[in-house]
């Protein structure tokens, strides 16, 4: 249970921090992802006894994967809430990720890509719903006036 919670927390934090460094402080996606991961994985490598062994083994991988979520450019996802939600989706995919592809390079990147595509889809759906509501309201006004 504690491991699952720490996985979700790490993935939210990784996505959010990387997106912040990438877009607000304008360091570019590669540096934001690599530098933050270097710090987190370095701390885990040098001090392996801060948390229990289970958590210490997982944190660098989760943080590295979730930092790909934050590499998204600011044009596609404008608000921080959608990035945090993408982090949660990434945490879910990481916890159920298939053992068959264990040890294949890039599996984390695929999970991150899937989670960001899901969030872009949800954002688009919300925008469509808002637009259709506005249309209905305007139509009602026009009908009432005439």
């Amino acid at each position: 249970m504690l491991t699952t919670i720490s996985i979700y927390l790490t993935s939210i934090l990784g996505a959010f921090l990387t997106f912040l460094v990438n877009t607000k402080y304008k360091q570019g996606p590669v540096r934001a992802s690599a530098l933050l991961t270097l710090i987190v994985a370095g701390v885990c490598f040098l001090f392996p006894k801060i948390f229990s062994e289970d958590i210490i083994n997982q944190i660098p991988w989760v943080f590295f994967g979730s930092s790909f979520v934050g590499m998204t450019s600011g044009k596609l996802t404008r608000n921080y809430i959608s990035i945090i939600f993408a982090g949660i989706v990434f945490g879910f995919i990481y916890t159920v990720s298939p053992d068959f592809f264990n040890g294949y390079g890039g599996a984390l990147g695929t999970a991150a890509c899937i989670s960001i595509l899901v969030v872009i889809g949800i954002n688009n759906l919300i925008r469509l719903l808002k637009a259709s509501k506005k249309k209905k309201r305007l139509l009602k006004k026009v009908v009432l006036k005439s």
């Binding site: 570019g28 540096r31 890039g106 984390l108 890509c113």
Partner: protein, 183 residues
């Protein structure tokens, strides 16, 4: 005209890679209802995003030399995590951090601006563990495939996080399939 075929081919490559991942996920958790329903929802949303969002206006490719950087990144990362006590995350992050400072050397040169993304894509190929990447020729071939698709997918999935990882994953899967067939 021929460019369009390459472009179409790389779209199919990216989409199939993601679906292979989802299929393996579904097959391993076929008894858990919550996982299956959530994954189906995720798949539906992904297909919706593919159809709605990614209408490419013009076909454009990266220059040819990026392939060399992808292969170099893959070989460097695999050397670091196989022959030093660093684990693969640290190795990839170290190389990514160093290469991200390269464009600052000369901001006008176009070659230097292209380097960080290409090498970071190669890093993911090099992160494969020992039981998948059995020797350097495997990593060389996987890096080459990743480099080719990286060249063709310049305008594809532009700005989406995880595109480089998907390319690397697809190329590693393809080269391990080749290894299975040939051996």
């Amino acid at each position: 005209m021929r460019q369009k075929y390459f472009h179409f081919f790389s779209i199919i490559f990216l989409v199939l890679t993601q679906f292979a991942f989802i299929t393996a996920l579904l097959l391993e958790h076929k008894n858990v209802f919550a996982v299956i329903s959530l994954t189906t929802l995720i798949t539906a949303l992904i297909i919706y995003t593919y159809i709605k969002f990614f209408k490419i206006k013009e076909v454009d490719f990266e220059p040819f030399y990026v392939m060399i950087f992808v292969i170099a990144g893959a070989l460097l990362t695999s050397y670091l995590h196989l022959f030093t006590p660093l684990n693969s995350v640290l190795a990839a992050a170290l190389i990514g951090t160093i290469t991200s400072f390269l464009p600052n050397l000369n901001k006008r040169s176009k070659v230097l601006q292209n380097i960080p993304n290409a090498i970071y894509c190669g890093c993911f190929v090099g992160m494969s563990q020992k039981h998948v990447a059995i020797n350097y020729s495997f990593i060389l071939i996987a890096g080459m495939i990743a480099g080719i698709f990286y060249m063709f997918s310049k305008n594809l999935f532009h700005g989406v996080g995880g595109k480089l990882g998907t390319l690397a994953f697809g190329s590693v899967v393809i080269s391990s399939l080749l290894l299975l067939i040939l051996s």
